[in-house]
């Protein structure tokens, strides 16, 4: 009897729970709109304009059900306005038949206008707090385009534009080192920390925005509109203050120890950028000390790599020559680093985390400087940079073909192809 009663109770309880529940928190895949990217602009009245890039699964995935894979656009884009992010999101339900689902939102695009005027802090809170949002979502700034343009533009190869942006950013950070991938977590961390300011990659839509939204855009070999990683956005507090490009941008990544591989060219025997060096791995160490009551930073870079290209007669088989090249390379990198530090000093924003380094090694002095680090101490900071570049290999050939042979025709300076960044076949 007891047995039966117990089991009857169990069964009843289960039945009740499964019937009564009506399944809260349940969301069928067919009832959610997978938001792949979210663009945030600001309109004239100062309200937020959210642009949602929603995946059309049927047009992305192949297979039987897809049927028309590739026939329709892979994403649909909707825009709504509101006074805060949540309002924007909720109001979108007037236009979209499905519940917006942010767990797969891997990209947040913020327009440069918004970043300059309003700052990031206001919008980041919503992303950081919302349980659905992944803090690993990447954040980029739309440079000289609206965030909506970035979100709307269709892309080839990677069918989902958000993916294309993320993968481009990751790849270029890894291979070229002038851009940096940053996710929500890192941004919020930097926003809060007094000793480090955030940097974000800028993206730019090049071409015709109207055409970029159409399917025709991806049906051409040369796209009408493409999305391109473009410069690094520098923030002070939470506001966009400047853009870093080229070597200045890369110098920043050197300091941040984020360079994975890149190509560096140096001049040789009066020939500009004649030798291309490929960094394979590097390690940067930033140490902060107090000297005579003044904060001092020393940066130690150790880079290892191969010679990828040599367009001058230089005997790469000679270790002494390599030593000289190594010196020159060190100088070049040092120059990049100094450039970026100067740039940041002008804007009085410590994007390198020197403050944090100071906090770690000199907590006592840091307490004094913490309050006005960016404005007062950081620009005056003494920075010592020391770079050791090592050449490990020189590719499959030792001497370049101009060397000692009768063929002395280097390509004319104007037509020279900068071939840095090629990978060696050895990988």
């Amino acid at each position: 009897m007891g047995m039966n009663r117990k089991w009857a109770f169990l069964f009843l309880m289960l039945a009740c729970i499964s019937l009564v529940s009506g399944c809260w928190s349940k969301k069928e895949l067919t009832d959610v709109a997978l938001v792949s990217a979210l663009g945030i602009d600001i309109d004239e009245k100062g309200r937020y304009v959210g642009t949602f890039q929603i995946i059309n699964p049927g047009n992305v995935a192949g297979g039987m059900q897809g049927g028309g894979a590739g026939q329709g656009p892979s994403v649909s884009v909707y825009s709504t306005t509101g006074n805060n992010i949540v309002e924007v999101s909720r109001r979108a339900s007037t236009k979209i038949s499905r519940r917006l689902y942010y767990a797969h939102t891997n990209l947040v695009v913020v327009s440069d206008e918004l970043a300059e005027k309003e700052g990031l802090a206001a919008i980041m809170d919503a992303f950081d707090r919302h349980p659905e949002f992944r803090t690993t979502a990447r954040v980029v700034i739309a440079r000289e385009s609206s965030a909506a343009d970035i979100v709307k533009t269709l892309t080839a190869v990677d069918k989902i534009p958000a993916n294309k942006v993320i993968k481009t950013m990751e790849l270029t950070e890894k291979r070229w080192g002038e851009h940096v991938k940053t996710n929500i977590q890192e941004v919020t961390k930097d926003l809060v920390s007094p000793g480090k300011e955030p940097i974000l990659t800028g993206f730019r839509m090049i071409g015709n925005a109207k055409k970029g939204e159409k399917m025709e855009n991806v049906q051409e070999s040369a796209l009408d509109a493409i999305l391109q990683a473009d410069a690094i956005a520098v923030f002070k507090d939470d506001k966009l203050v400047d853009w870093l490009t080229g070597e200045t941008a890369r110098g920043t990544l050197w300091v941040l120890d984020k360079i994975k591989s890149t190509g560096i060219s140096i001049d040789w025997q009066d020939k500009q950028e004649a030798i291309a060096y490929q960094v394979v791995r590097q390690k940067t160490k930033v140490t902060a000390t107090m000297k005579n009551g003044q904060p001092q930073i020393s940066i130690n870079v150790q880079a290892e790599g191969d010679i990828d290209e040599a367009n001058v007669p230089v005997n790469l088989a000679d270790p002494r020559v390599l030593l000289r090249i190594e010196k020159a390379l060190g100088k070049e990198i040092e120059k990049e680093i100094h450039k970026s530090i100067q740039h940041a000093s002008q804007h009085k924003t410590d994007i390198f985390g020197f403050g944090e380094a100071m906090h770690r090694s000199e907590p006592e002095s840091w307490k004094r400087m913490e309050k006005n680090w960016n404005d007062e101490h950081f620009p005056k900071l003494k920075v010592k940079v020391n770079v050791d570049a090592y050449i490990r290999r020189t590719g499959l050939r030792s001497k370049p073909m101009h060397f000692g042979g009768h063929l002395r025709v280097g390509p004319p300076v104007g037509q020279r192809v900068k071939a840095v960044g090629f990978s060696t076949p050895r990988g």
Binding site: S21, K26, Q65
Partner: protein, 545 residues
């Protein structure tokens, strides 16, 4: 043939015990056999309802053919060849032995001199006579004698020993149990040639009087457990025992559980192995499935191949089986949970693929999963029932219906088909059928939990399942030993298998204490300097210089 004689020995012991008891009891009770042959025969006819398969053969024996004698047996369950050659023929023809035969010594002479069969005994009660008769013995009734002789002539058609159907192994003995209890016990005795292998018999079932025997190794099996098994079996009062499943369900510790708490097997080597670990085997006449008690959870994931194969392979396979079991439990539930609650937990690309497939499906994921699972169960059930000739038709239709048409019609998504297929294959891969079917049932329970609460539901269901498993006992041995309670010495043979050299101890809670299974000194010692070359010369590899 040896098996046959061994079986005889077995029955003899049993009957002798019983007759011994009988002789002490006072004579002439109402149920006793009378003196008159014709009356006795009438009683037999009346008690058996004139059944036509009861054969009576009248012979006259003695010096002057003066003693009227009847030989009674049931056709089909006796070895008629034996009855003719060694019983009737000697009764009728061996006159030189019958010279002194009279009513007083008839029984003794028949037993001692005439019947050339191994087990003969005297019976004086009707119930016992009928029981013997129905068990395949041949009864000899003599006019004027209030006793009957029962000659053991069990026989009849038997299935030959074949490879077991439900428990196939790659390596190891090909012999499987058959329906005859005697053959089955003999198969085990042939493996364990020890006088300590003890066998006890009983008859269970008020109507069927099924022969049931328990077998254990004295000195290894725990005495309390043997006593427990014996007493539980003796307590049984049912009409019939048609299969070992009856006994299993009647004597298990807990009725309300989906898990089997007795192990059943068709393989003599498994029985032998378990007897050596201290378990007790329960043989039931009429079925090739032998029960083993006490059973523990991990046992159901072990197959004989694990012991015959090298330990590394065996360990890998056992871990794989646990994985398989978990898959067969939660695969559809996880699919439901992921597609209806936790879309954030799968990679974006995958969620897009699944979403694309689900787009055209008209049902919620749970209903979709339920439809597919039930369809599969239907197919499986139909596949078992169908005659072999049309069996393949089911699989064709099933494959087409599930795999092709349902997907094309947009009723289910291809992902769901994959899930169901994996589940199905996984449920076939569990070595023990009885564990596999319990997984089938639990799967639905977990699916419901997943449909209502996603992974939270699954995890809770899983914890509840674990608690339930931990609360089970099989003949007072905790079901999850040696994992919980954790017994370090026995962990070597659970979901992993250590090398044989390290498996020195018998299961602690199952076998008697201070019993070490193996010696320590048997490890082979390879010659010391056989590193790079085999150096038999004793000079090493430098013997040229």
């Amino acid at each position: 043939m040896p098996s046959f004689f061994k079986r005889k020995n077995v029955t003899k012991t049993r009957y002798n015990q019983k007759s011994g008891n009988k002789e002490q009891s006072p004579e002439k009770k109402p149920g006793s056999i009378g003196f008159s042959l014709s009356v006795n025969l009438d009683i037999i006819k009346q008690r058996t309802g004139n059944s036509t398969d009861i054969i009576t053969r009248h012979v006259k024996i003695g010096p002057n053919y003066g003693l009227k004698t009847v030989v009674v047996y049931v056709a089909g369950i006796v070895n008629e060849q034996f009855i003719h050659d060694f019983l009737i023929e000697s009764l009728m023809k061996d006159h030189f032995l019958q010279e002194d035969l009279n009513l007083e010594n008839a029984a003794e002479i028949i037993v001692d001199d005439l019947v050339a069969l191994s087990s003969v005994m005297q019976i004086s009660e009707w119930n016992q006579l009928l029981l013997s008769l129905m068990s395949g013995d041949t009864i000899i009734l003599i006019d004027g004698l209030d006793k009957a002789l029962s000659v053991s002539t069990e026989g009849g058609e038997k299935r030959a020993i074949e490879e077991p159907g439900a428990q196939v192994s790659v390596r190891g003995s090909r012999a499987g149990f058959v329906e005859s209890l005697g053959t089955n016990t003999a198969l085990v005795r042939r493996i364990i040639k020890s006088p300590d292998l003890w066998l006890e018999s009983m008859k269970i079932g008020k109507v069927t009087k099924t022969d049931v025997a328990i077998m254990y190794i004295n000195g290894i099996a725990k005495q309390e457990i043997v006593e427990e098994v014996r007493s539980r079996l003796n307590k049984l009062e049912v009409d019939s025992i048609l299969e070992s499943g009856y006994i299993e369900q009647l004597i298990e510790d807990q009725t309300f559980t989906p898990f089997p708490t007795l192990y059943n097997t068709e393989r003599p080597d498994i029985v032998a192995g378990n007897l050596l670990e201290g378990r007790i085997a329960i043989f039931i006449d009429g079925t090739p499935f032998v029960l083993l008690a006490p059973a523990v959870f991990v046992q159901f994931f072990q197959s004989t191949d694990d012991y015959y194969a090298r330990f590394d392979m065996a360990t890998a396979l056992r871990l794989l089986r646990i994985l398989i079991f978990i898959i067969s439990l939660i695969a559809p539930a996880a699919y439901v949970a992921v597609t209806t609650f936790h879309q954030e937990m799968i990679p974006t690309q995958l969620v897009i693929t699944v979403a694309a497939q689900r787009e055209a499906v008209p049902f919620p994921a749970f209903v979709e999963a339920l439809i597919m699972e039930v369809t599969f169960e239907i197919l499986r059930e139909a596949g078992i029932r169908l005659p072999r000739a049309v069996g393949s038709a089911v699989s064709i239709v099933g494959a087409l219906v599930i795999g092709q048409a349902a997907v094309q019609a947009g009723i289910v998504s291809p992902a769901m088909v994959i899930i169901v297929s994996i589940t199905a294959i996984a449920s076939f891969a569990t070595p023990s059928f009885s564990m596999a079917i319990s997984a089938r049932l639990i799967r639905f329970f977990i699916m419901i939990s997943a449909a209502t609460f996603g992974f939270y539901g699954i995890i809770l269901a899983f914890i509840m399942l674990l608690a339930h498993l931990c609360s089970l006992r099989s003949f007072s041995v905790p079901y999850m030993t040696p994992l919980a309670p954790f017994i370090l010495a026995n962990v070597g043979d659970t979901i992993v298998r250590f090398p044989w050299l390290d498996l020195g101890t018998r299961p602690k809670l199952i076998s008697q204490k201070d019993n070490i299974g193996q010696g320590e000194t048997m490890k082979s010692q390879p010659p010391e300097n056989s590193g790079m070359v085999t150096a038999n010369t004793g000079k090493g590899d430098g013997n040229e210089s």
